[in-house]
Amino acid sequence: MKEYDIVVAGAGVIGCATARELSRYTGSVAVLEKNADVCEGTSKANSAIIHAGFDAEPGTLKAKMNVRGNQMMDQLSKELDIPFSRCGAFVVCLREEELPKLRELYERGLKNGVEGLSLLSGEEARRLEPNLTKEVCGALYAKTSGIVCPFELTLGLAESAAINGVRFYFETPVLSLERQGEKWLVHTPKEDFLAKAVVNCAGVHSDELHNMVSEKKLKIQVRKGEYCLLDKSAGKHVGRTIFQLPGKYGKGVLVSPTIHGNLLLGPTAEDVEDRENVRTTASGLQDVLEKSALGVKDVPTRQVITSFTGLRAHELGDDFVLGEAAPGFFDAAGIESPGLSSAAAIGESLAAEIAQKLALGKKEHFDPIRRGVPKLKEMSLAERRKMIEKNPAYGNIICRCEEISEGEILDAIHGVLGAKTLDGVKRRTRAGMGRCQSGFCSPRVMEILSRELSLELSQIRKNQDGSQIVLTRTRGE
């Protein structure tokens, strides 16, 4: 059995943000994650938007956390060494008679305290985004809306937490909770953890965990969203995130540049029962491609390089569920959109509440700075030359599409929370995320993983156990 002051269940963006904020205080913290890496659930597959905050009803936790979370991103992205861009967003209106709704949204934004909002005519919008369709008759422009890499944000938060003393336990799902005196006994298949406080950051499973300890039941309705990601050659099709005003055609899908220069289309919205249902469907993908064309013209849909499904943890109460639900049990449940945007704020608010409850003081030496894997492709030739002189492995290109070197892959494997799987390397370095989608580099990344982690090639996994990539040697040992 291991004992900590605080156990955080779940290493998604909320769990990691909470852990990092908790690491500003004096208590000991462990994060338990059922998957093999951070950011494997809802945090991984979403629109990757840091919303401005005009969407949520004034007065809700969603509104409050979103606006605060958005404001925190400039400093946070610098501290964590992660890419973040306030590229701005348009909400486009496709029908004259729905223009009043656009104004409503604008006013809601003002009430929520969102800065940098303005209303544009169709013409004005098209001048800034020439690929908007002629049907666009008005737009709400949110200058503070941004884009981020959800994985890098989550990993950055997690590594920063780890640098400040938080311990991470992967492939360690929370099975059940038991009150033991003033503490919680947390059962996992590996070992038990004893903690004064438990934080529920279990994403689509957050109601299950909550309902183990509280009479006030929660119900998560999992909502599935399908996306298509397009090649970088399509990445400049729009310069800002283009949302459609919810209306006659339903909620609509967004068209957005991604922080890495691709173009993202999606999501669909479909309630599903299976909480692990990350299938894409022909009809869903078709829907994404068709709907994206309503507000943005000539989307080069032949440039799709991959498609994926994300799961949103929609709580039936329609707001985030935050705070102490049972003595020493704190919820961050029902965190759906704008969850990514709100993560930093949720972490901040929960950590403060928990610290107060456990009477924890601030640490003297909290180190806010974390360094990511260097990105050689983004450096000048002179910088790059210097890097390679220092470490020749930076000169050995492994992923030719994204131009990722062996040095960067080694940094990812030997990082604070190092990559152990092909997906782990991919998300930390982008090796395998390019046009060939890992066709060329996966055997070479597998070799590097096998060498560095002293594993047989047949033990190298894509992500979870059971996702081993090759089976056996063809010719004995």
Partner: protein, 123 residues
């Protein structure tokens, strides 16, 4: 007379062949071929089809874990799997060079199994 239709595999052209045989299976004629090799292929394919087998064998002490091999010439088609069974058991020690004999009479075909790549010793 029975006519057997085949696609020639002697070269990438893939000519559609018609092989005419008599009642006892003797080839009377081949048509549809563009070259002499096609005629030979047609005759052989209906009487005693042959193939080249390519694969890899285990390599010890080499810069690679396996080395590619081939049967030096064609072998009877029905011996392909017997041939593979021996290939699976065979091994070679680095360095290996193109043409090096790995097995000299694979699956009793009288045909040698030879290396098709150069692999030096592990550095």
């Amino acid at each position: 007379m029975p006519i057997i239709e085949l696609t020639c595999i002697s070269c990438p052209l893939g000519c559609p062949l018609k092989v005419e045989t008599d009642e006892t299976g003797n080839v009377k004629g081949v048509t549809g071929n563009t070259c002499k090799r096609g005629e030979e292929y047609g005759k052989k394919e209906v009487s005693a089809p042959v193939r080249t087998v390519t694969s890899t064998v285990r390599l010890t002490g080499g810069a690679a874990p396996v080395v590619s091999v081939r049967t030096k010439t064609d072998i009877p088609k029905e011996k392909i799997f017997a041939c593979m069974a021996e290939i699976r058991k065979a091994s070679a020690a680095a360095p290996v060079h193109i043409g090096d004999v790995i097995l000299d009479n694979i699956a009793d075909t009288g045909v040698a199994l030879v290396a098709t790549a150069n692999v030096e010793k592990r550095a």
